[in-house]
């Protein structure tokens, strides 16, 4: 199988409020969509924040591309090739697609105080990068605010990929999207997997997870309940696990 792209070994995290993560170990391979499932408060957000350098783990280690790594800041993780796309997408709605795409990484020409950003080339590059991922943007000068939720999600992902993400972490990418847009985003995720990226996908929605996931890890109150390969588990069983072990039927009956 070779070295995993990213590995978390016995990672634990404690805040003043208590233990948020306890003894979590998982691997993400290249060319794999690894879904991270769990109810609210399970610790999914904290885990991905550790993976991309926002928090340091209280216990345990991380390995990236076969080497132990310690991230002092998200920038260091980014430089390694670990990119996270959170729910707010870090997009500025009043600015154009191109300006958003190249924010903080604008391509410059010239020297000294006369350095210019080559916006023409930037537009072409942005358009091309988006096209590669199946997004056709007729006018990259449009404000991001005029894009739909799915288009914005695709833009945020395309930006992360273009700037060298090897491991892509997506936090609830389909939460606010309708059916058609969800399909498109998930299709893009699959395309990226086929290119060899490792993808960690957090979602509430088991059906979405099952549509694209290769492996599934379920977190429950800070602990890993298990990691399952695609063919090894049923949708309903996953759902039960997410709900904390209690069968969905049982509490449906409870609700009457």
């Amino acid at each position: 199988m070779g070295t995993a792209l990213m590995e978390a070994r016995a990672v634990g995290k404690s805040f003043d409020s208590g233990d948020v993560l306890v003894d979590v170990s998982l691997r993400v391979e290249r060319g794999e969509v690894h879904c991270l499932l769990g109810d609210n408060g399970a610790g999914k957000s904290t885990l991905i924040k550790i993976l991309c350098g926002v928090h340091a783990p209280s216990r345990g280690t991380l390995r990236f591309e076969g080497r132990d790594v310690v991230f002092a800041s998200p920038r260091e993780a980014l430089d390694c090739g670990i990119a996270a796309v959170y729910q707010d997408l870090a997009l500025l709605p009043l600015m154009s697609i191109t300006r958003n795409f190249f924010l903080a990484r604008e391509p410059v020409r010239g020297r000294g105080p006369f350095r210019r950003v080559d916006w023409r080339r930037a537009r072409a590059v942005a358009q091309g990068a988006l096209h590669d991922l199946g997004v056709d943007v007729r006018d990259p000068r449009r404000a991001v605010g005029t894009l739909s939720g799915g288009e914005r999600q695709s833009l945020a992902i395309a930006r992360a990929v273009h700037f060298g993400a090897k491991l892509l972490i997506l936090d609830e990418p389909t939460a606010a999207l309708g059916v058609v847009q969800t399909t498109r985003v998930l299709r893009m995720v699959r395309r990226l997997r086929d290119r060899g990226l490792g993808i960690v996908l957090i979602t509430h929605n088991v059906r979405h997870a099952c549509a694209v996931g290769d492996r599934f890890s379920v977190l429950d109150r800070g602990r890993l309940r298990g990691t399952f390969a695609r063919d090894a588990i049923e949708v309903d069983a996953l759902q039960d696990l997410m709900a904390g072990g209690q069968s969905v039927d049982a509490w449906t009956r409870e609700l009457g």
Binding site: D88, A90, P93, L103, A104, E106, G134, E151, T183
Partner: protein, 384 residues
Amino acid sequence: MRPSEPADPGERPFATGSQPSAQGGSREIPHALVTRALRRPELGAVAGLAFVTVFFAFTARSEMFSLGGMVTFLEPSAQLGLLAVAAALLMIAGEFDLSIGSMIAFGGMLVGVPLVHWGWPLEAAVVFALALATAVGLLNGALVLRTRLPSFIVTLAALFILRGATLVGLKAATGGATQLRGIREAIPEGHWLMEVLAGHAFESGFAALAARGWIDTFKSGLPKVQGLPVEILWFVGCAVAATWVLRVTRFGNWIYAAGGDALAARAVGVPVARVKLTLFCVTACAGALLGVMNALDFGSTDAARGTQKEFEAIIAAVIGGCLLTGGYGSAVGAFFGAIIFGMVSIGISYTSIDQDLYKVFLGGMLLLAVVLNHVVRHRALGAR
């Protein structure tokens, strides 16, 4: 089959920017140009300027649009414009500097007192004024960033503090007066910095034109325009520089991002704090520079200079299309906004409209310009 409507939504990549009436390449290009023009933040200001010009064309004496007349309203426009362009940059970054008006008086004092009472050379006095202004700007910015208080409040406090400091400083220096005189006498004749910061440019050129009869003269024979006030050149230069920064540099992109959503910008790696600190220094220096230029031009300064200019600068920037909430706007818009302001405030004296109506008039004009701005932008941003 129309290319923008895929037969199977599952198969085709989705296209953004699809227009319901798009029927092929050739019709889209002019449409795109018009849409892009409509989306520009300056459009409202240009429309406002056209409206104001037409209004005065009908109601004002013809001298208003003679060369001499235009200079009389372009000069106050230029003075306000220096402030408005700086204020626009800061507003796009999501902050306000209300102390910019008081800084005019403060800057006038900082250049006047060393010249007249300490015997400093002009260069030193000017550097002194700008250096202290930069320090104040840094302080403003640091306070805003550290305390996370709205910059409106922090710089409002600075407005009062600077105004009071100017009053106290002038009285201390002059032995009790609120006006400082004698600035011109303290500067040697023909000083190079005076040519740059005060007076008129191209005087010999204008004199030659007048001799040829190309410039009107008064009945006494004096040419109506002796030269181009230096402020106008500074104004144009600053507007050009600010536009260049906003549209074509990395820093400009960061300004838009810092104002649009500081958290998102920081998350992506934009040095938001550095951007804002820099812009607070820019506004402080703009205020001080104008104070210096006025002091040198008029040979005196007083504690009341620049009163209310901070609001006028913000209004000019807003007329020019800057959003009060930040993240959107342009320096060119502030340029046109300042011209509108100057035109309206001086233009009334070319009409027979009673002076008492001035405030009503100014407010009405500004309201019209801003509403126009809003309508145009609403249409433009909403269109797909």
